[in-house]
């Protein structure tokens, strides 16, 4: 039975990602269902483009990006925590798989070998160096509250009532990070199904991230192994993940346009995210010490 749960879970995740599809291509947000359908159909039928000097890494990048985020989606709980891979769904592994998926388009940019690609990739990787400690601190504060790094365990512990301050500070740190984060890597010079794979990976990554934030910070409604609770779980997941996605979209839209081509990676929002993440980690440590 546990193995069968994976099918509706993955189907829901993929359906949500396909519904988000055109929003990833154009700008953060949601697009009409018909526009989505037309885009996926067009990309599926389109003939691939084959830029002259490209090699295997160029073709491998979309497959690697989509495969790693599919694995992450299979491990991240959506409406139930009773997934077959629950024993493997640890925060370091999910962070690693999502990071691999986000970096795979970089392989195609590197294969292009242009100055613009190098600058774009260097900008995002440099931001990643400054942002990874913030993510680690937030995840670490949650692991302390729950006494482990497994997503299911953290959700259960927080649902049972964990201190509010570290969770709130962690959420605010992630919000500050979302506001100053650069846009995802530009979709490289692919066409046809390879391009569809890139877009699907970006959309699925967003769905997995929203589901993960919903699981870790708002675990209410998350079902267990009992089939009876799945309906409510699906509804709760749709509401929570949708709200997180809307909030993330609003935050990235609220980003000042003048800051985008800024020559430096540092920003006041990043400083605020650092301070909030440190606060979340310390308050979680003290809350655990008091307990």
């Amino acid at each position: 039975m546990a193995g069968m749960v994976e099918i509706p879970h993955l189907a829901l995740m993929i359906a949500a990602a396909l519904a988000l599809g055109a929003g990833v291509r154009e700008k953060p947000g949601f697009a009409a269902m018909r526009a989505n359908f037309l885009m996926w159909r067009g990309l599926w039928r389109q003939r691939a483009r084959w830029p002259a000097p490209m090699t295997g890494a160029f073709w491998l990048a979309p497959a690697l990006s989509l495969a790693s985020v599919l694995l992450a989606a299979a491990l991240t709980p959506s409406f139930t925590t009773a997934l077959p891979g629950a024993a493997l769904a640890s925060l370091p592994l999910l962070a690693g798989l999502l990071g691999l998926s986000a970096l795979a388009p970089g392989l195609a940019l590197l294969e292009g070998g242009t100055t613009a690609g190098g600058l774009a990739l260097g900008w995002r990787l440099g931001f990643g160096v400054l942002a990874t400690p913030i993510l680690f601190l937030v995840l670490w504060s949650l692991a302390q509250l729950a006494g482990g790094v497994l997503v299911g365990g953290i959700s259960a512990e927080i649902a049972a009532g964990a201190p509010l301050v570290p969770r709130l500070l962690g959420l605010l740190a992630l919000a500050a990070l979302a506001r100053c984060a650069p846009e995802p890597l530009p979709c490289p010079d692919h066409g046809g199904r390879a391009r569809a794979a890139f877009l699907a990976a970006a959309a699925l990554r967003r769905v997995v991230l929203c589901s993960l934030i919903a699981d870790l910070f708002f675990p209410a409604g998350l079902a267990g192994a009992e089939v009876a609770g799945w309906g409510i779980g699906i509804l709760a997941w749709a509401i929570k993940a949708g709200a997180v996605a809307l909030a993330g979209s609003a935050l990235s839209r609220a980003r000042p346009a003048a800051r985008r081509p800024s020559p430096t990676l540092l920003s006041p929002e990043l400083g605020a995210a650092w301070a909030l993440a440190l606060g979340a980690a310390l308050s979680a440590a003290f809350a655990r010490g008091a307990a």
Binding site: R47, A57, A63, S90, E111, G126, G191, G192, F286
Partner: protein
């Protein structure tokens, strides 16, 4: 089936025979006639040592046989044994040394003496033998690579620091003479400030001995094979000394303050190495910096294990010590592999400079795959070997705030943040190295005409890369082999659970995940539909620039990616921080104002 005690004695005698053979080989290499022949087969000695180490680790017979030789100080013979820790280092270092000696056999007596001294230092079970064997190793290395005066002086100072640490560790006989046997030192562990001083001295000694390794700018300028020999020898030597002194002789986590010293030292090396790997522009320097970063990561994991052990968190200590041993394996192999790749590129593409490489993946596929395996040791992404070690360590860190109250919580948070920064720097550096070195269009005529290296070189690179890939896909195997070494570091935990071998999850999970990932990638490649030859050929999008003119067949340099453009934004981010730190030392108030201004101006 041999009785474990008999087998341990046999293995020890074989190792002793290997050392004696190497000493004899060094003497024979003085003669001109057998020099070429002996030099050509010298690589078999470290390979044999690796097999012996693997036998000790696999069979778990470490430390069961002790041999006292009629050599050494008056009335005090040299004591030799192969415990789990020595066996693991024999195995990890043997493979890397064999690879280097196979590709560039130095037919000189110093090479055999170097190996003999190194293996004697791993087998030593008393302080005198350890120091004498280390001195012999260092003298041979200095002779072999023509070390400068500074390195020699640092090595002598390092040996002095280790002697001081041993003098503080050694209990006294009734007549007042120190008992230099390791077994006596273990029986009388040092606590308090004395224990912390011992660890500080041991770290200082290991750092001074490994000084050529910790200077990537200078190491990167050496001939790649020579640099690979230095790294293959000094990384395991330095890590062995740190683990033997802080983890075994001074009892891991026994003295307060010991763990903080190790953690601070490891974190500084990890961050410094990863940053150097990111900003360096030649492959040799990047490989040397990877060695420093992995060296630091292993020491950091050892420090985390000491923190956890000091607080009686047995599971966390075991996981962190396992991560440290896995990182020892990676640090022994990955930088050597990258330096050998650098040697291949210098021979085939004529340069190691990233700005003059590019486009080598289709021309040197075997070398590119080897470079990918080496880079994945530092870039901690699944399913690479670095990820397994980092996941083990990250799984233990949430225990740490239980230690030390408020200051402990702040220190642990800082450690987590630094670890995150170090991992991200490693990923950034390795992606830059692979992208600029092997992907993209070739930037010079020589790079465009490069061809794959000869078959023996490919075999050696493939062997090292295969072992690294195995550590990523099946880290359970390496952790299983590291079990006896883990028992040396955590004897109490080993006694309770009857040995420290990994659980089923460590065996199954990484293999399963790697298999699933590979299957999904293969499926998607199949679903892609368009075969490359059926696709629509086009010129690549040049980032908004027009096509290059015909007299620039390798592209317009102004539109091509180069090492500096890749790290431009990172350098801009570093500048305000560096300026603020520099001014902080001179004028604290002005520094604060300038730092704030630079931050907000961004």
């Amino acid at each position: 089936m041999l009785v474990p005690g008999v087998m341990a004695t046999l293995v020890l005698l074989l190792a002793l025979g290997l050392i004696a053979g190497l000493v004899g080989g060094a003497a024979a290499l003085l003669l001109a006639a057998p020099r070429r022949w002996l030099g050509r087969f010298l690589w078999l000695a470290p390979l044999g040592a690796a097999v012996l180490g693997g036998l000790v680790c696999g069979a778990g017979t470490g430390g069961r046989a002790v041999l006292t030789l009629p050599l050494g100080l008056p009335g005090y013979g040299a004591v030799l044994t192969i415990d789990g820790l020595a066996g693991f280092f024999l195995m990890a270092s043997g493979v890397a040394l064999a690879a280097v000696l196979r590709l560039a056999p130095p037919a000189r007596p110093a090479a055999a003496a170097l190996l003999a001294g190194f293996y004697a230092s791993l087998l030593a079970a008393d302080g005198f033998t350890l120091i004498i064997a280390l001195a012999a190793t260092l003298i041979a290395l200095w002779r072999l690579v023509a070390a400068g005066r500074g390195v020699v002086l640092a090595g002598i100072a390092g040996l002095g620091a280790l002697l001081l640490a041993l003098a503080r560790l050694a209990p006294l006989f009734p007549d007042g003479a120190p008992d230099a046997a390791f077994s006596a030192m273990r029986a009388a562990p040092q606590a308090g400030a004395r224990g912390a001083a011992i660890v500080a001295l041991a770290l200082l000694g290991a750092g001074l001995i490994a000084l050529p390794l910790l200077w990537p700018a200078r190491l990167g300028r050496r001939v790649a094979h020579e640099a690979a020999l230095i790294v293959a020898l000094l990384v395991p030597s330095g890590l062995y000394l740190v683990l033997r002194f802080s983890g075994d002789l001074a009892a891991l986590g026994a003295a307060p303050g010991q763990d903080v010293i190790i953690v601070v030292g490891g974190a500084a090396l990890m961050l410094g190495g990863a940053r150097e790997a990111l900003l360096a522009t030649t492959l040799g320097r990047i490989a040397a910096a990877v060695g420093v970063a992995l060296f630091g990561e292993a020491i950091l994991a050892c420090g985390v294990a000491a923190l956890a052990r000091g607080a009686d968190l047995t599971d966390a200590a075991q996981a962190a010590a396992s991560a440290a041993l896995l990182l020892v394996f990676l640090a022994s192999l990955a930088p050597v592999l990258l330096l050998l790749v650098a040697a291949v590129l210098r021979a085939e593409a004529g340069t190691e400079a990233l700005a003059r490489l590019g486009g080598l993946a289709p021309r040197l596929p075997f070398t590119a795959a080897s470079a990918l395996a080496g880079a994945s040791a530092l870039a901690a992404l699944p399913p690479g070997p670095g990820f397994a070690a980092m996941a083990l360590m990250l799984g233990t860190l949430w225990h740490l705030p239980r230690i030390g109250g408020g200051a402990g919580a702040f220190g642990a948070a800082l450690l987590v943040a630094l670890l995150g920064a170090g991992l991200a720097l490693g990923v950034f550096a390795m992606l830059r190295f692979l992208g600029l070195g092997f992907l993209g269009p070739p930037r010079t005529p020589r790079a465009s005409a490069a061809t794959e290296s000869d078959r023996p070189t490919c075999w050696v690179l493939g062997g090292l890369a295969g072992l690294l890939a195995l550590a990523g896909v099946a880290p359970g195997l390496i952790l299983w082999l590291a079990g006896p070494a883990l028992a040396v570091l955590l004897p109490a935990a080993a006694a309770v659970s009857g040995g420290l071998r990994p659980g089923w999850l460590a065996w199954l999970a990484p293999t399963l995940l790697a298999g699933l990932l590979a299957a999904l990638v293969a499926l998607m490649q199949r679903l892609r539909g368009d075969r490359a030859d059926a696709a629509r050929p086009e010129t690549a999008w040049q980032g908004g620039y027009g096509p290059p003119p015909r007299w620039l067949p390798f592209g317009d340099p102004a539109t091509l990616m180069d090492p500096a453009c890749f790290t431009a934004s990172w350098r801009c981010a570093e500048r305000p921080l560096g300026a603020a730190l520099a001014r902080l030392a001179r004028r604290p108030r002005a520094a604060w104002r300038a730092g704030c201004a630079a931050w907000w101006a961004g």
